[in-house]
């Protein structure tokens, strides 16, 4: 039996280059396994081997997707790989999007089987789960131990061109093709069990989630912006210096509401970011780069808007579950509505 050749994509953090301050790291091709590649090597045994590892900064990839894709495809093309693996990215949003994007490109342009892994709430999962096999992982790197064996097992199947089982058997995120398989209990028994759970208010898992209808129709445009109250909201974690409410840098459990009456400019002395998912240097130097109070005040003075709402709402998007952010927004959106805010500008990093 021949040994499959694998190319592995990881970000600057897992390559040991550094954290957010190095997120603009340009693509680099290295020989053999790097970082999590060691765990894959162990899981593959003699069945597959990581011949090359590509390291790329998350910000670099997301800010220059076309250029990054082109560079990476060129790197991968000549490797003669039987399988391309990216990540796992867990709940790192930009890393997940990068993994998904490059896997899709490799599959489409090079026809090599691809595989990645991430947490179900990673935005990359929503974007690519109908196009790729994405092994479901935990939300943080502590899930590496359980993620790697699943990825290795499915990866070997893909490389060998074997048929892939249902998501529940292989551990990938459902959302793409429906695959038949044999359950342990017959359907009627599963229905009775599901009903008993539903009656008891206990959690149950439907076998076919209804297609996502969760689209909100756009509200009508603002009639006269020069008279409207405009509010600023951000998921970029801008907070008064010192983070008085101790909003978590990742997987935030709360949001902040801060008064900006009389504040015309956010400065390095007064505001900072609590967000742990991007390089904070630029936001800490001048938080207006994330939450543009300065220009909004200018617009207010110039009569371009009616007025800037006297509070802003802020949270950290990093790793925060969609359920939590939904809950936060529901709460403050009501306050905004009650205070007759007519437009919200929401900034994300």
């Amino acid at each position: 039996m021949s040994t499959f050749k694998v190319v592995h994509y990881i970000n600057q953090f897992y390559a040991g280059v550094g954290g957010e301050e190095h997120a603009d790291y340009k693509p680099e091709l290295r020989d053999g396994p790097v970082g999590p590649g060691a765990a894959f090597t162990a899981a593959f045994g003699d069945k597959a081997k990581i011949i090359k590892t590509i390291v790329c900064g998350d910000s670099y990839f997301n800010e220059n997707p076309d250029e990054a894709k082109k560079t990476l495809i060129d790197m991968i093309r000549d490797c003669g790989a039987d399988l391309f693996i990216a990540g796992p990215a867990f709940n790192a949003g930009r890393y997940g999007v990068a993994c998904g994007t490059i896997c899709a490109a490799v599959s489409e342009q090079l026809g090599i089987p691809v595989l990645t892994g991430m947490f179900e709430e990673n935005p990359g999962a929503e974007m690519f789960k109908d196009k790729l096999h994405i092994i479901a992982t935990g939300s943080s790197a502590t899930g590496m131990r359980t993620a790697v064996p699943k990825m290795a097992a499915l990866g070997l199947k893909l490389a060998a061109g074997e048929s892939v089982g249902a998501s529940i058997e292989e551990g990938y995120l459902p959302g793409g093709a429906r695959v038949n398989f044999f359950e342990k209990e017959r359907g009627s028994k599963r229905a009775v069990d599901m009903l008993l759970k539903k009656l008891a208010g206990a959690p149950f898992v439907t076998e076919y989630p209804m297609p996502d209808f969760d689209r909100v129709a756009p509200n009508p445009a603002v009639l006269d912006i020069t008279k409207a109250t405009v509010a600023l909201v951000t998921s970029g974690g801008i907070v008064p210096k010192g983070n008085p409410d101790r909003i978590e840098s990742s997987s935030a459990s709360r949001y902040g509401e801060y008064d900006i009456t009389g504040v015309n400019d956010l400065t390095a002395e007064t505001y900072e970011t609590a967000h742990g998912g991007y390089d904070p240097v630029y936001a800490n130097q001048d938080a207006d780069r994330v939450l543009p109070v300065d220009i909004m005040r200018a617009f207010e003075k110039e009569g371009k808007i009616g007025k800037l709402y006297n509070k802003f709402y802020t949270t950290v998007g990093n790793g925060t579950s969609t359920k939590s952010s939904k809950h936060f927004a529901k709460e403050f959106a009501k306050k905004l509505k009650d205070d007759n805010v007519q437009v919200v500008i929401l900034t994300s990093t």
């Binding site: 129709a217 509200n219 912006i225 240097v281 994330v290 543009p292 300065d294 529901k330 994300s348 990093t349």
Partner: protein, 78 residues
């Protein structure tokens, strides 16, 4: 977040760098931003140039708020 604000009945303009994510999360009025660590700025520019850039993005955002849309729409910054 963006959907909940829209659901509450307030038109919301989402300024963000990775617009495909914004599409996925269901924003209706989307304005592309500069870069992830500085969506509304660019440290490579002079202070004045940076402010002009920010003003341009926000002007686009205000225009987006004043524009009727049928579905998800990306408003490119001119």
């Amino acid at each position: 977040m963006v959907k909940e604000i829209e659901r509450a009945g307030i038109p919301v303009v989402h300024i963000c760098t990775v617009t495909p994510i914004s599409m996925t999360v269901g924003a209706n009025r989307i304005v592309p931003a500069v870069a992830i660590p500085h969506p509304l700025g660019n440290p490579a520019l002079s202070a004045d140039e940076e402010k002009a850039l920010r003003r341009k993005i926000l002007t686009t955002a205000l225009e987006a708020a004043c524009t009727e849309v049928d579905g998800q729409t990306i408003f490119e910054v001119k």
